[in-house]
C-alpha cells in the first residue's frame, strides 16, 4: 500500500537549476545560503544534462536557469539547447551582468524562451550601494534593451526593501520605458542573506502600503494606455494577513537542484537542519517520490498544534518550513507569520521595530565569498 505522502506527490512541474553560486554582484538580500562558500564542486555539463533529462521525464515543464549568476557558466548555451529540445519552457534568471549582444543571440539560437533581469534600484547610486558594483546598473539597462530588441519576452525583477521601496514609481516608469512584459516587485523575504540583514532591510508597514498604492495606480494607467505590462507586487510575509502556501506545498510541484547537485524542495531549504539527497547518488525519480527529505513535510501527518487541527491546513500547509525554522528553531512549527502561531510576537516585534529604525545601507553585510566563509567557520 502506498502512503499518504507518496499519494500526494504529483509531478514536479517546476525545476530550478541553480547552476552556480558564483556571482559578480553582492546583494545583501541574496536568497543563496549564507554558508554557500562551503558547498562543494559544481555539477559538470554532462551531469546537468542528466538532471534535465530526468526532470523532464518526471513531468517538469518550466525550467529556470538561476544561481548565483548562471551566465558565469560557459556551458549555459549548451544546457539551454538540451533543455529546449527536451520540451522545457526555458527561463534565464540573471543579473544581466555577463550578458552581451553575442550571448543574447547565441541563447536565442539555442532556443531560450525568456530572460528575466533583476534591477536593484531606479538609479545608479542606490544600485551600486546594494550590488557592490558601480557599473552594473548601466549594464543592466543596456542589456534589457538588447533583450527586447532580440524579441524575447522579458520580466524585470526588483527586490524591494526599505532603501528602494519609496522609489517604486520611478522603478515602474523605468521598467515601462525598457519595454518589460511583466515586472515583479518582490518585497524582500527573509531567508539566506536577507535573514542575516533583516533589520536593515525590512520596510515599515507604511512604506509597503504606499508602494502597493502606487503600483495599483500604475496598473490603472497602463490599462488605460492598452500597455500589457503585468505588475506583480509581493507583500512580505511579515505584513501578510495569513501565511503563504509556500511552494504550493512541500515537494508538491517544485524542485531545486543546487550547484553541487543537492536536490531541494525549494531554494531556501538548505538552511534547514536536514540532509538532502544529491543527484550524484540518486535518481531524481527516487528523490522526488521516495526520499525521506521530500516526504518529510508532505501531507499533514507532521503538523503540530495549532496547524494540525486548523481549518486552513490544506490551504497554506502551515506556511513556510524555512521561516518556521529560522524564527523558532523548529521546522515543524507553525510559520510565525500566522496569527495563530504561539511565536507570532516575533513577527510583530520585528515589524514594530521597522517603524522606528533607519539603519544606513552601508551597514548591511555584503553577500560574497569572504563573508560566507567567515559565517560558516563562525
Amino acid at each position: 500500500m502506498r502512503t499518504h505522502a507518496e499519494l500526494s506527490a504529483g509531478a514536479p512541474l517546476w525545476l530550478l537549476a541553480e547552476l552556480t553560486y558564483r556571482c559578480p554582484l553582492q546583494c545583501p538580500y541574496c536568497s543563496n545560503p549564507v554558508d554557500y562558500a562551503r558547498h562543494g564542486e559544481e555539477l559538470s555539463t554532462e551531469q546537468w544534462r542528466g538532471v534535465l533529462r530526468e526532470a523532464r521525464a518526471l513531468g517538469a515543464a518550466q525550467l529556470g536557469f538561476s544561481g548565483g549568476e548562471p551566465l558565469v557558466r560557459q556551458d549555459l548555451e549548451a544546457l539551454v539547447s538540451e533543455a529546449r529540445e527536451l520540451g522545457f519552457y526555458t527561463n534565464l534568471i540573471t543579473s544581466g551582468v555577463g550578458l552581451n549582444e553575442a550571448r543574447i543571440a547565441a541563447l536565442r539560437d539555442a532556443g531560450l524562451d525568456h530572460i528575466q533581469i533583476s534591477l536593484q534600484a531606479a538609479d545608479e547610486e542606490v544600485s551600486a550601494a546594494v550590488a557592490g558594483s558601480a557599473k552594473a546598473h548601466g549594464r543592466k539597462l543596456a542589456m534589457a534593451r538588447a533583450v527586447k530588441a532580440a524579441g524575447y519576452p522579458m520580466v524585470l525583477n526588483v527586490v524591494l526593501h526599505r532603501h528602494n521601496i519609496d522609489d517604486v514609481d520611478r522603478l515602474i516608469a523605468l521598467c515601462d520605458e525598457l519595454g518589460a512584459d511583466a515586472v515583479e516587485l518582490a518585497t524582500c523575504q527573509y531567508y539566506g542573506w536577507a535573514r542575516l540583514n533583516r533589520d536593515g532591510l525590512l520596510p515599515s508597514r507604511e512604506q509597503v502600503a504606499r508602494a502597493e498604492a502606487v503600483t495599483q495606480a500604475w496598473r490603472e494607467r497602463l490599462a488605460a494606455r492598452g500597455r500589457e505590462m503585468r505588475l506583480l507586487f509581493v507583500v512580505p510575509d511579515y505584513y501578510a494577513e495569513r501565511p503563504k502556501a509556500c511552494m504550493g506545498g512541500w515537494g508538491a510541484i517544485f524542485m531545486t537542484v543546487a550547484p553541487d547537485g543537492a536536490v531541494l524542495p525549494c531554494h531556501s531549504a538548505r538552511e534547514l537542519p536536514m540532509t538532502f539527497p544529491n543527484v550524484r547518488d540518486a535518481s531524481l525519480e527516487a528523490v522526488w517520490h521516495r526520499s525521506e527529505a521530500f516526504n518529510r513535510f508532505r501531507g499533514d501527518g507532521w503538523m503540530k498544534a495549532p496547524c494540525r487541527s486548523c481549518d486552513e491546513r490544506h490551504q497554506d500547509y502551515g506556511g513556510c518550513r524555512c521561516q518556521a525554522y529560522l524564527l523558532t528553531g523548529d521546522p515543524a512549527a507553525a510559520d510565525p507569520v500566522c496569527s495563530k502561531s504561539p511565536e507570532h510576537r516575533l513577527i510583530e516585534e520585528a515589524c514594530a521595530e521597522a517603524a522606528h529604525r533607519s539603519p544606513p545601507l552601508e551597514h548591511l553585510t555584503a553577500r560574497n565569498s569572504a563573508n560566507s566563509r567567515l559565517i560558516w567557520r563562525g
Binding site: 509531478a11 513531468g59 515543464a61 518550466q62 519552457y89 524562451d113 528575466q116 520580466v155 512584459d181 511583466a182
Partner: protein, 91 residues
C-alpha cells in the same frame, strides 16, 4: 461575433501537450496555464493563419455531437484575449 478575426498566441508563449499531465498547457515566462480538453482543442487550432470561422468549422466537424460550438469558441477566445494569451493578427 467576429468570425473573420485571426488570432495567434502572444509572442514568446507556447502551447504544448504534456504527457505527464495528459493535457495541453500554455507556457509563458515563469508560468503555466493548465488547460481543460475543450480549451486545449481550441487553442491547438489558433495558429495565426486560420480565422475563427475555420476553427469553428474544424471543431464542428470533429465533435458533431456537441451541436455547434460557435458560441463556446467565441466566449473562450474573448476570454483568452482579455487574459492576454492571444493577439489579433492584422492581415
Amino acid at each position: 461575433m467576429n468570425l473573420a478575426r485571426i488570432l495567434s498566441l502572444r509572442p514568446g508563449w507556447r502551447l504544448q501537450w504534456e504527457p505527464a499531465q495528459q493535457r495541453h498547457v500554455l507556457l509563458y515566462p515563469e508560468g503555466m496555464v493548465q488547460l481543460n480538453d475543450s480549451a486545449g482543442a481550441i487553442l491547438a487550432l489558433v495558429d495565426g493563419r486560420r480565422d475563427q470561422a475555420a476553427i469553428v468549422a474544424e471543431l464542428d466537424a470533429r465533435f458533431p455531437a456537441a451541436g455547434g460550438v460557435a458560441d463556446d469558441v467565441d466566449d473562450f477566445l474573448n476570454d483568452a484575449c482579455r487574459q492576454g494569451w492571444l493577439r489579433e493578427v492584422t492581415p
